[in-house]
């Protein structure tokens, strides 16, 4: 079934962008206005960890009870992994990312400017206004360091480019079962949105979407929830164990399928897009809303169970988990919860639990058929 597209690597993309005179913005999880950075000629390159770095440098600043997304990001930075960046953006999502942003500003002080971005926790009018103001304030800071001042039209143009890429990203998610890609190849493709320029991502997405549909993928259909599917070998392992990921509620993927904005004011439109995205605990979405979203997504995609694949010590995920699992169970959707540290290899124990879960789901499906 595999006809994976060739995806430019992160390193090659960064090099090419720099050679063309552009700058790089290293961006931490989760939500931020891509279009704003691009309007200043900065390519957002996201830092979700990364996995498997030497954790020692970060451990000199952070206690062991802080999640590995944050610990690894700091270690990576201290090991010069972010040297290529011209600016570091730290969106606010949780106490740990808040702490990291503050540490960078007050103690670590990398050579690049560090810009935190506060994310409001509601969808009220005051939240929209605030986030628009926050984007406007970031515009001011970027203008000060780049000496540029993109016009309103340029900002809107940049937004439209991102909206197009996000539309195609959503289409990929929507049609994933009919694409001739394994789960690993699919996630390599959609996660390229984390570093490819929007127009390149759009071209890549179009080429995949234009490929004639393959036979729908088989396997026990599951929905994957959590922060990030790392190590990505997990995805091959799921396929080998007879499962197939038909939908996700991952912070790095499904929770960032932002709808197009409507406002003619660019800052307002950036805020709208982020706040109107799918439910997310770090944006304060009520648990019921998350549950309804999961159940609806499972129904639409045929997922028969949910794998909660969480990063250890992640409060936003852990607080919602019991009620989500109970609600899913009541809706006839079994679930399993596993926690990982980004520095650990894919453990046998994790795989065994997922395998046992897939077997249980398969058994239930079989029983229901009889």
């Amino acid at each position: 079934m595999e006809s994976a597209p060739t995806i430019p690597s992160r390193t090659a993309t960064i090099r090419a962008w720099k050679e063309s005179g552009g700058g790089i913005a290293a961006v931490l999880p989760i939500h931020y206005p891509r279009a704003l950075l691009r309007a200043f000629g900065l390519l957002p390159v996201e830092v979700w960890g990364p996995p498997r770095v030497d954790p020692a440098p970060g451990a000199a600043h952070l206690q062991p009870y802080v999640c590995s997304i944050v610990g690894n990001a700091l270690s990576f930075l201290l090991k010069d992994g972010l040297d290529v960046a011209d600016v570091i953006v730290v969106p606010h999502a949780c106490d740990s990312l808040q702490g990291l942003g503050s540490l960078l500003l007050d103690f670590v002080r990398p050579r690049q400017p560090v810009f935190p971005l506060y994310l409001p926790r509601g969808r009220r009018e005051s939240d929209r206004q605030f986030l628009a103001d926050e984007c406007r304030a970031l515009y001011g800071k970027l203008a000060a360091i780049t000496g540029r001042a993109p016009s309103e039209e340029e900002l809107l143009e940049s937004i439209r480019r991102e909206e197009e890429a996000d539309g195609l990203l959503a289409e990929l998610h929507h049609r994933r079962r009919a694409l001739s890609l394994t789960d690993l190849a699919f996630y390599r493709l959609v996660r390229a949105r984390e570093y490819l320029p929007a127009e390149e991502f759009s071209a890549l997405a179009r080429s995949v979407l234009d490929t004639p549909p393959a036979d729908p993928r088989t396997g026990i259909p599951i929905l994957l929830s959590g922060i990030v599917p790392e190590p990505m070998a997990l995805l091959d392992a799921i396929n080998e164990m007879g499962g197939t990921v038909v939908a996700d509620d991952l912070a790095c993927c499904g929770r960032r399928l932002y709808p197009p904005g409507v406002s003619g004011d660019p800052f307002r439109r950036m805020a709208e897009r982020i706040l109107d995205g799918p439910p997310d605990p770090t944006r304060g979405s009520p648990i019921t809303e998350r549950l309804q979203h999961l159940v609806r997504t499972a129904r639409e995609t045929g997922a028969r169970g949910v794998v909660f694949y969480d990063v250890k010590f992640c409060e936003p995920e852990l607080f919602d988990l019991p009620l989500l699992r109970r609600g899913l169970q009541e809706a006839g959707l079994p679930s399993v919860h596993v926690e990982v540290d980004l520095n650990d290899p894919l453990s046998g124990q994790t795989l065994t639990r997922i395998e046992a879960f897939l077997e249980m789901v398969a058994g239930q499906t079989e029983e229901a058929r009889r």
Partner: protein, 438 residues
């Protein structure tokens, strides 16, 4: 309001309860000290009154449903709005601390853990969710909330936690989101945002309370709140005196009213009386630690289930813990409250708690305390389940050692979960720290 409920409330809270509590206070005043008075001063005379005041507050909560509207609120929330609307205000964090001090927190938190709440979550949250699920509490009974009022100025955890409560109780959640202040000054649009939310919260709260907000009453509550906070700050600042009249462990116990009864006239009277007693101690040359040789700072939450152990251990070595970033948090913002410009000053006051400010600001506060209180060292409680307070401590400790030359200890524990308190390791580390103090 149901007249039977009103009668029940009045009888229990205003007649029978106070009589019983007065008797208990009378008995407590005659009981011998429980903490080791060979090294520590005798207990504060006011201590039984503190207990009575706090117990009365929880007693009112027990009978509140059906008589008064109940709000569950976070410790740093702009409670003045709720007080002015006559809500009974319950602080789950304080309740969890009571459970922690009574060593019931783990048993109650286990109820939440059995329901799937991870042991990595804030132990206050686990204790509180456990209490909500099981009804277990040392205060008799917790009233159900009519509204949940969460302010993110202490952490984001409260938002995740209150979303859970909103589901369990089916109660509306009113959020006051306070953007984190990374730099010295909060951005203008952040303060505007907080103010807008305060104003937007009013009609929601009015609807639940069934009454209109009276601006005069709000101003009065604001004044009382400011006065109590000022008195609290004065009490803390008296610890600049040598020997310090009270220790941080005393402060931890005496802080309950400033957290949960801010805005009440009794709280002002209470702290005025405490200040008087503290001044009497100073006049009589009484120190909280009998042989005060060294003075240190405490950073982060208390270790509620080991207050006595820590106080006695340190006092035995002549070490007095005299200042704390934690207790200071309920006093340091007093000057910002302006009853004549309440809305704007509330927005400013509630965006600036130490926990909503950067790691560098906390270091600055600690540095200032080291100078103003003449401190010889610092204990930074690295609190496993409170990340917002703990992240940054490793750098803060290094800077205190490097820049101020004071020994600083990072003490691994948890504010409410005694399962992570390694007694032997703590004793060894504390002993080494005391040795370094000289």
């Amino acid at each position: 309001m149901n007249p039977v409920n009103a009668l029940r409330y009045h009888w229990n809270v205003n007649v029978l309860g106070p009589a019983v509590l007065r008797l208990q206070r009378w008995q407590a005043e005659r009981r011998p000290a429980r903490w080791d008075t060979r090294y520590l001063a005798p207990p504060l005379r006011i201590a039984p009154r503190t207990k009575e005041l706090v117990a009365r507050h929880w007693l009112a909560g027990r009978y509140a449903n059906g008589y008064r509207k109940v709000a569950w609120v976070t410790s740093g929330a702009p409670v003045e709005l709720l007080k002015a609307l006559d809500f009974y205000v319950l602080y789950p964090e304080n309740h969890a601390a009571i459970c922690g001090t009574a060593r019931l927190a783990v048993d109650i938190a286990s109820e939440a853990e059995s329901a799937g709440y991870s042991r990595d979550l804030c132990s206050y949250a686990r204790t509180d969710i456990g209490a909500a699920l099981s009804g277990k509490t040392p205060v008799g009974r917790l009233p159900k909330p009519d509204v949940l009022f969460a302010c993110t100025n202490i952490c984001q955890t409260v938002l995740f936690w209150y979303r859970v409560l909103a589901e369990y109780f089916g109660a509306p959640l009113v959020l006051i989101d306070t953007p984190f202040v990374y730099t010295e000054e909060a951005a203008g649009h952040a303060v505007r945002y907080v103010r807008r939310q305060l104003e937007e919260a009013v009609p929601v709260l009015e609807r639940i309370a069934g009454k209109r907000l009276d601006e005069r009453k709000l101003r009065q509550v604001g004044l009382l709140s400011k006065r109590a906070s000022e008195l609290w700050l004065e009490i803390l600042q008296r610890c600049r005196h040598r020997p310090a009249p009270i220790s941080v462990f005393d402060q931890f116990i005496q802080m309950a009213p400033i957290v949960e009864m801010r805005g009440d006239p009794e709280t002002v009277d209470f702290y005025a009386a405490l200040l008087k007693e503290v001044d009497e101690r100073i006049a009589a040359g009484v120190g909280a630690v009998k042989n005060e040789r060294k003075r240190v700072l405490w950073d982060n939450l208390p270790i509620w289930y080991r207050l006595r152990y820590l106080a006695e251990f340190l006092a035995r070595h002549g070490v007095a813990v005299v200042a704390s970033t934690y207790t200071n948090a309920w006093g340091e913002l007093a000057p910002l409250i302006d009853p004549d410009d309440l809305w704007e000053s509330m927005a400013r006051t509630y965006i600036y708690p130490i926990l909503n400010r950067g790691t560098g600001h906390k270091l600055k506060t600690m540095r200032q305390m080291v100078e103003e209180y003449g401190l010889d060292g610092a204990i930074l409680h690295s609190d496993r389940s409170c990340k917002p307070y703990s992240i940054g401590q490793m750098d803060q400790r290094d800077r205190l050692i490097r820049e101020l030359g004071v020994p600083a200890l990072l003490l691994e524990a948890d504010h409410n979960d005694y399962r992570v308190f390694a007694e032997e390791q703590v004793a060894t580390r504390l002993a080494a720290f005391v040795e370094m103090l000289g």
